[in-house]
Symmetry: C2
Subunit: 208 residues, 2 copies
């Protein structure tokens, strides 16, 4: 059943977890679906529906226990373990990701970055070693990373993805502005920066 949950639901669960952690840090013990909905820009019916996929939460009239619901969401999102991540492409986006503090906080450990550029190989990218892409297959067998982040040019992305898939990595975050094809047992998420801006051009165009 879990496989049927839409991407947009998973995104909302991530957002709810953030709000709950904010409430936790302020010492609040319970929260209503209305409060969660308000913070997330959605409806309380949507909140209840999203959470109902994963069993029963909360007591009618009392709302949700903040620490309990936060704990369950971390479990649902697979945040109870450390995930090992490699970055393919040691350019500007790779560097921005390597320094991003939010990953470590969430249990995502960046092992290494890979590049074909000899000037970059052997250096550090925000403390992360930059390795020769020719070592990729050997390193993956040894380090067993769970997730590969692709920050390579669009025209190379499919070829790099095919190579990563062959190593057995099953989850890929793609920053190249192109749609990639992968086998059904591999999850590819494409982060499209222009798409984020389109959400804003939509909002600006459709104002009252």
């Amino acid at each position: 059943m879990a496989k049927r949950i839409a991407d947009s639901t998973v995104r909302r669960l991530s957002a709810y977890l953030r709000f709950l952690e904010d409430f936790e840090s302020r010492g609040l013990e319970t929260i209503s679906s209305e409060e969660l909905a308000q913070r997330g820009g959605t409806t309380s019916a949507q909140v209840r529906k999203d959470l109902s996929f994963f069993g029963s939460f909360g007591k009618r009239g009392l709302g949700y226990s903040v620490p309990e619901l936060a704990g369950r969401l971390r479990e649902i999102l697979g945040l109870g373990k450390e995930w090992k991540v490699i970055i393919i492409g040691a350019g500007k986006i790779g560097a921005a990701l390597a320094q991003y503090r939010g990953f470590r906080q969430r249990g995502f450990l960046i092992l290494a970055a890979y590049d074909a550029n000899e000037e970059k190989i052997g250096r550090k990218l925000e403390g992360i070693p930059v390795r020769d892409i020719t070592q990729l297959e050997r390193d993956v067998r040894q380090d067993r990373p769970d997730i590969a982040v692709l920050t390579v040019p669009a025209e190379e992305a499919q070829r790099v993805l095919d190579r990563v898939v062959k190593t057995g990595i099953k989850a890929i975050l793609n920053f190249a502005p192109t749609q990639l094809q992968a086998p059904a047992d591999v999850t590819v998420k494409t982060v499209n920066m222009a798409m984020e801006l389109e959400g804003l051009s939509y909002a600006l165009t459709n104002r009252d």
Copy 2:
């Protein structure tokens, strides 16, 4: 009515537009809701529902005209005009965005980046001038940017957002890993890199 459309619907419209442009570049003239759904990892019922918000498209049994639907989606998403963008924070994420080719292709023109660091002011970030943040208010009055992208540290983000809002900018893309408060007439989208990885940890955890 347009204001009621959920963020997740707008994201899907952006995705459909990408697939349509891909079909266009390959010379295809019509497409079914099933084909669009398949590319987008959704259902044909969802595609028809998403498009129905914006009037009637397509002919029963014949599918959608690719150029016509692409044109309508560009219009809906507000991509018919050039949007002026400023970046606040000339760090690694700012640099990664300044070089991102996808923005220009979509009609997003980056005017300038702003920073408080004297070593950065007056230099170029991937061809974009880095200006003194103290000039922000004066420049906004003159250049009239539509969108501000915040790539500042989390602890400064709310203060910077308040300052940007005062200049009259109504659309903000926030890269700081923190939830920001803004007046109701200002649209803030927060891009959370850890949240993208959580979509993958969810997928890895809930595999069959």
